[in-house]
């Protein structure tokens, strides 16, 4: 189907392209400044150095190394926990005759409407009482949520019951059926869920800010927030920190772009 090239088309093309430039300009600026050695307030192109001194400084002197390690531990832990718990729950909800499961599922979905600030204070008290502040568990355990279970259940529907029944008749045990039949079939959904959990855990800020206050237990966004970005700071080092924070999700996005976008579209259109 051919379309005419009209003035409206050209204007639209220019506007959308301009918007795209506006979207990446701050990030290009971020990376550029992270490579400048500038003591002055004015960041200029002639200060561009193309060395990693700002990154070295941020990682070694400003605790970004520790924060990076903590963030990676929390993200890996969260992804494993959320993937396992959500897939198991989705399988139970979709394929097993548990009485009252639909009511429970609706209850799960209702929790998605609760804003984080509402449970912040009681969660803070609970973890304090349990002496679990400044632990990785404090950041990982609350990551399980209704969204993951909802997402996995959407895909669990497509797992054919006949296949499960046939395997059962062939003497394939319950656990083996789950691991060798169900898991491979829902793998695309697991990748989407992992991306979501990765982003959620990697970018989580308010909860880690209040619950893990010791500097050796901070995660990247919290360490990032402690660097002041007023005019007295070394912009290069601050931007190196921001670039590091951005780098990991960005690499993931480059490789798994389709799953990123499909996950959001699915959650959006159906939710």
């Amino acid at each position: 189907m051919k379309q005419k090239i009209s003035a409206g088309y050209i204007i639209g093309l220019v506007l959308v392209s301009l918007f795209a430039i506006l979207c990446i300009l701050p990030l290009i600026y971020m990376v550029a400044v992270s490579f400048t050695d500038s003591e002055s307030l004015y960041i200029q192109l002639k200060d561009l150095r193309f060395n990693f001194s700002n990154f070295e400084y941020a990682l070694t002197k400003r605790d970004f190394g520790t924060a990076l390690k903590n963030s990676i531990i929390v993200v890996v832990g969260s992804c494993l926990l959320v993937d396992i718990v959500s897939t198991m729950a989705a399988y139970g909800f979709e394929k097993k005759p548990v009485p009252g499961k639909e009511a429970l599922f609706q209850g799960y979905l209702a929790t998605m409407m609760i804003p984080g600030q509402v449970i912040l204070i009681p969660m803070f008290m609970m973890f304090n009482r349990a002496h679990m502040t400044n632990t990785y568990a404090a950041l990982i355990l609350p990551m399980v949520g209704a969204f993951g279970i909802f997402l996995m259940r959407q895909f669990m529907v497509a797992v054919p019951n006949e296949l499960l029944e046939a395997a059962e008749i062939d003497g394939c045990g319950e656990v083996r059926r789950f691991v060798t039949i169900v898991l491979p079939l829902v793998q695309p959904a697991l990748i989407t869920l992992t991306i979501f959990t990765f982003n959620g855990a990697w970018n989580n800020f308010l909860w880690p800010l209040i619950i893990n206050t010791k500097s050796e237990m901070r995660v990247l966004p919290v360490t990032m927030s402690t660097l002041s970005s007023n005019s007295t700071t070394n912009y290069g080092m601050v931007m190196a920190g921001a670039t590091l924070t951005f780098l990991f999700p960005f690499v993931l996005y480059i490789f798994l772009q389709k799953q990123f976008v499909e996950g959001i579209a699915l959650g959006g259109v159906k939710g």
Partner: protein, 304 residues
């Protein structure tokens, strides 16, 4: 109940009962975690909202006192006004931008450049709010920030974006729009792709211009998605915290205090956990009301 169940069904019940137990075992881990970290805290929060609690001593029941004090609190009412202003800036702009971009790319740019632009516009979505706030803070700097360097290059005076009361909130909102548009664009794009191609083709055959098709076909079909995006946008913007915390700290003055920021300061700076919980419960009620309105609105439109 059991007497009503016909005997034929009761015979297969041992296997079914076993399956039910196995299913319960699969659901159990999520049930435990959801109960502890999602459901129980709500009730605890409701309880705290009726108490005076500073963590040094156990909570003291004071009935509705916290709620009574909410209405006379200047800080809170300012925060509420700021939050509503913030929602009114971000939600319309990010919704319109994401719709127009998605519609244009989906209908007029079915090529590699179109999908490239889509990928690029999505990139800010994956930047954490704190990193976004940091980068934009530096860009907004009155001395040497990128935006002011550009303004100066065109002969304009520098603007202190985050230091002026009138400008601080819109400047924070701009970052949210920058970060949010790509997200909603993806949802709109998926929605437009679900529109049957023959509807559009029939309109083209009938000689409808791209503008007419947008107004009379695309827009009406996307209505449910628009309701959802507006609701998600309002709820998300209503809870703005990270950007305010990092970019302005609520200032200058109290010009960027928002509801979520106020809950944080009441609780974790003033150690007034009971009072902060009362504010949080009001936030919960407000958000549930927004959901309810959307559901009713959506139902009514569906029925027609």
């Amino acid at each position: 109940m059991s007497s009503i169940v016909p005997s034929a069904q009761r015979k297969i019940s041992p296997r079914r009962r076993k399956q039910a137990w196995i299913g319960a075992a699969y659901i159990a881990p999520s049930f435990v975690l959801m109960s502890i970290f999602n459901v129980f805290p709500i009730f605890l929060s409701i309880y705290y909202s009726f108490t005076k609690y500073n963590m040094a001593s156990p909570p003291v029941w004071i009935g509705l006192e916290n709620y009574a004090k909410l209405f006379s609190n200047r800080v809170l009412s300012e925060a509420l006004v700021n939050t509503v202003r913030y929602v009114l800036i971000t939600v319309p702009l990010q919704t319109v931008f994401s719709l127009l971009i998605a519609a244009f790319i989906a209908e007029r740019m079915k090529n590699r450049y179109g999908s490239f632009l889509r990928s690029v516009i999505f990139i800010p979505v994956i930047v954490s709010l704190i990193a976004s706030a940091t980068v934009w803070n530096i860009m907004y700097q009155p001395k040497g920030g990128l935006i002011n360097q550009i303004l100066n290059a065109f002969g304009f005076d520098s603007v202190n974006f985050l230091g002026k009361k009138a400008l601080a909130l819109p400047s924070v909102a701009a970052v949210a729009i920058w970060k949010g548009t790509g997200y909603y664009m993806v949802i709109y794009y998926a929605g437009i792709m679900n529109v049957p191609a023959d509807v559009q083709e029939a309109a083209i055959v009938d000689g409808a211009s791209p503008m007419q098709r947008f107004w009379h076909i695309t827009l009406p079909i996307l209505k449910p998605i628009t309701y959802m995006i507006v609701t998600l946008g309002i709820i998300g913007s209503f809870q703005v915290f990270d950007l305010v915390y990092k970019m302005t700290g609520g200032g200058p003055g109290r010009s960027t205090y928002t509801v979520a920021y106020v809950i944080y300061t009441f609780a974790f700076q003033d150690k007034n956990y009971g009072y902060a919980s009362a504010v949080a419960i009001c936030l919960l009620i407000a958000i549930l009301l927004i959901h309810l309105i959307q559901t009713l609105f959506f139902k009514e439109k569906e029925d027609r």
